[in-house]
Symmetry: C3
Subunit: 322 residues, 3 copies
Amino acid sequence: MKQFLSAQDVQDIPSLIQSALEYKANPWKDEMLGKHKKLGCLFMNPSMRTRLSTQVAAQQLGMETVIFNVGHEGWALEFEDGATMNGTNVEHVKDAAPILGHYFDILAVRTFPGLKDRSADYSEHIIHQFIHYAGIPVISLESATLHPLQSLADLITVHEAIAQHTLASKPKIVLTWAPHVKPLPQCVANSFAQWVNAWGAADFVITHPKGYELEPSFTNGATISHDQDAALKDADFIYVKNWSAYEDYGTMPGHGGEWMLNNKKIEQSNNGKVMHCLPVRRNVELSDEILDSSNSLVTKQAGNRVWAAQAVIASMLKASNK
Amino acid sequence: MKQFLSAQDVQDIPSLIQSALEYKANPWKDEMLGKHKKLGCLFMNPSMRTRLSTQVAAQQLGMETVIFNVGHEGWALEFEDGATMNGTNVEHVKDAAPILGHYFDILAVRTFPGLKDRSADYSEHIIHQFIHYAGIPVISLESATLHPLQSLADLITVHEAIAQHTLASKPKIVLTWAPHVKPLPQCVANSFAQWVNAWGAADFVITHPKGYELEPSFTNGATISHDQDAALKDADFIYVKNWSAYEDYGTMPGHGGEWMLNNKKIEQSNNGKVMHCLPVRRNVELSDEILDSSNSLVTKQAGNRVWAAQAVIASMLKASNK
Amino acid sequence: MKQFLSAQDVQDIPSLIQSALEYKANPWKDEMLGKHKKLGCLFMNPSMRTRLSTQVAAQQLGMETVIFNVGHEGWALEFEDGATMNGTNVEHVKDAAPILGHYFDILAVRTFPGLKDRSADYSEHIIHQFIHYAGIPVISLESATLHPLQSLADLITVHEAIAQHTLASKPKIVLTWAPHVKPLPQCVANSFAQWVNAWGAADFVITHPKGYELEPSFTNGATISHDQDAALKDADFIYVKNWSAYEDYGTMPGHGGEWMLNNKKIEQSNNGKVMHCLPVRRNVELSDEILDSSNSLVTKQAGNRVWAAQAVIASMLKASNK
């Protein structure tokens, strides 16, 4: 694997899940694989699970990790080609990225969308610039439109729950929009939809209020519904997530009705396991009663972030050793 | 040891001091003890000595350390049970802490009091929430009301000075309030009082202006005096520290008279060794002449922070290996 | 080597360059040299290349590295002797530095000039205070007036280019001032001048507008010219850098004419290789066309920062092992 930005970068999702579960069973089995290899992690935005799980994963592979908080420990980057840099951006990615390629063996980058210019965000210009100019394998720690390490961890969690609860091998998975206090990126929802569709082993339904349609290339393959109650019926897995509008980009159209998930809402599900990528706004997106119940998988998902990252990094290290 | 928040978590203070001194003599003697173990350090507040000494101590035990500056590299946490999270706090400790318990073997947390709501601060709600939800051993890197790694380092320093200067085995230790430019927590004073009382091997006097009484459960066992000059007479150790009022919580009542320690003030002491946890406001809390004299133990105290942390972490690692 | 602040701290520049090139050929050849040794890196200012390359270099020598962002993870330091510390500075370097000397084996410090008080900046008071009070070897990661790791990397790059392009063994090196949007320190220019002069193996010309004269003790030995076009004629190496005025300290006197380097400007050079320390303001200091051409050495320079740092740290470790 030369880059990990999307489900499309993965040839065989089930075998990547399998690799992650092997690391979960035996975290240090490849502790010499990353010897003398260096992972550079660039954070252009805040992060907790991604930041910590990636470091832990790299340590377990014997890699050295260097963390860099761009614009905080360093300075703001310019991404516009041909810019006359007389403003506040101090360095061009054209100059910064090749150096990171000199210093590190793998580069991991976290960046968010601006949520103002849809075509700019959906071009994934920023992370592609890093890939283009760094010249080393790049891992997305969340980009403008996708969050692939989260989605891989999500599928690992689904896979485990199917085995543990002897659920149908083709479960019903529902991605449901949830309310929030401010406009959020579509990344997690896009990415989850993309991975579930690529995985192909689920009956997949997406439910959201009108105006919150996601970009079709990610959702193609899923059933879309504006009726949350109908969507949740018989669900085995319920993935809860807020996102802002893709059409009227970055806005929060009125959603009408009750969309926050609570116990009453999931009564008609098939004892549905509830998922969320975290951080979650309690009693806004999801009720305490669900999050604190045994049906919640959120801590398991977050725990699985380590194994997802470890499988991806290991795959890159193995490819580069060939 | 499952938690280290207070002197009450330590069964045998002299043997913990002894363990620290053994690491001081031979820093790397247990460098395999922490192999494959991970220490997560969460800083909700600034820190220098604690931050650096904890990392050095963990390295010397062969542990991997991951640093996380909450609200700075990540985001603000919510600690209120049942909160409807529609404000500025992005994640509940209920959701964050269990994940830290998945990622790390030991969690170390730094948090400060708000100095507005005494009962909230003195409930130690924040660090107890981490303990409750993380499910792994927790070390306080200073909490709302106590600073146990500092106090352990202080006692190590006293222990060494007694041996080096052949002082009385039951020395006179005076904790004196000092002026400051802004209201500070009571943590260091509470904690020093608690540890000296628990240690029990000193004649212990606390002196401060009226209005600066500390919480009695920490000071019980000490003689309290409002006459600094009388208190300092014959003192072997003089611990200088500012704190804000406990009674009229978080305020700075007028203190009258001269409370800044200088050479004249300590003339009647028994060639008293002067201590301070640092950072110190020179010529506000303490004069340059004292800090720059051979009577000052402040650098030794700070140096001993490494060995205090190493003894505590090692004790937790050994307990978890059983 | 006990300190690395300046070319004057280096006995034999060619042999230090040689040592760096040996690490470049074999990064891990001394991976046991730093075992059980700790490098503390204090950043009082932002940094990217210096921060990352120093960590990578230390890792390759087997050292443990601890990063501390002063005033960001910690608090503001006081450097004035005898200060009554009733302002915003929380800790005196007199108290902080000795502790760093306890925790680490080598201390690396990054600090910038204030650009307001020339004699204060040029006294290098801050880094000298660290040296004085820390009591361990100190490496400058850029100080108020010099940037020695950058200059060493620059000479390594020149050395490589001479060999690769079979240039004259005594090349013509031109340091040219460039425009910028805000007043910058003189560090990189001072330091490059100092190192090229100390190295002695070049025909060295400095060109800048009137009013931008550098401090003579650094530039003595170079030809100074206000005619950029004449200076660039037959140049083998062209080092481009902005700096603010030394005379009318910290200001940006009007420079008249065109000083931004572009292809037309370097037509009369000897196919001059273009250098810059980065970060660079594209199309303000230098045109895209130059930076994106094969004549640009900027990425090589930045890559060589690792080997410069590794040679310096190794030299200190070897000295301390004697």
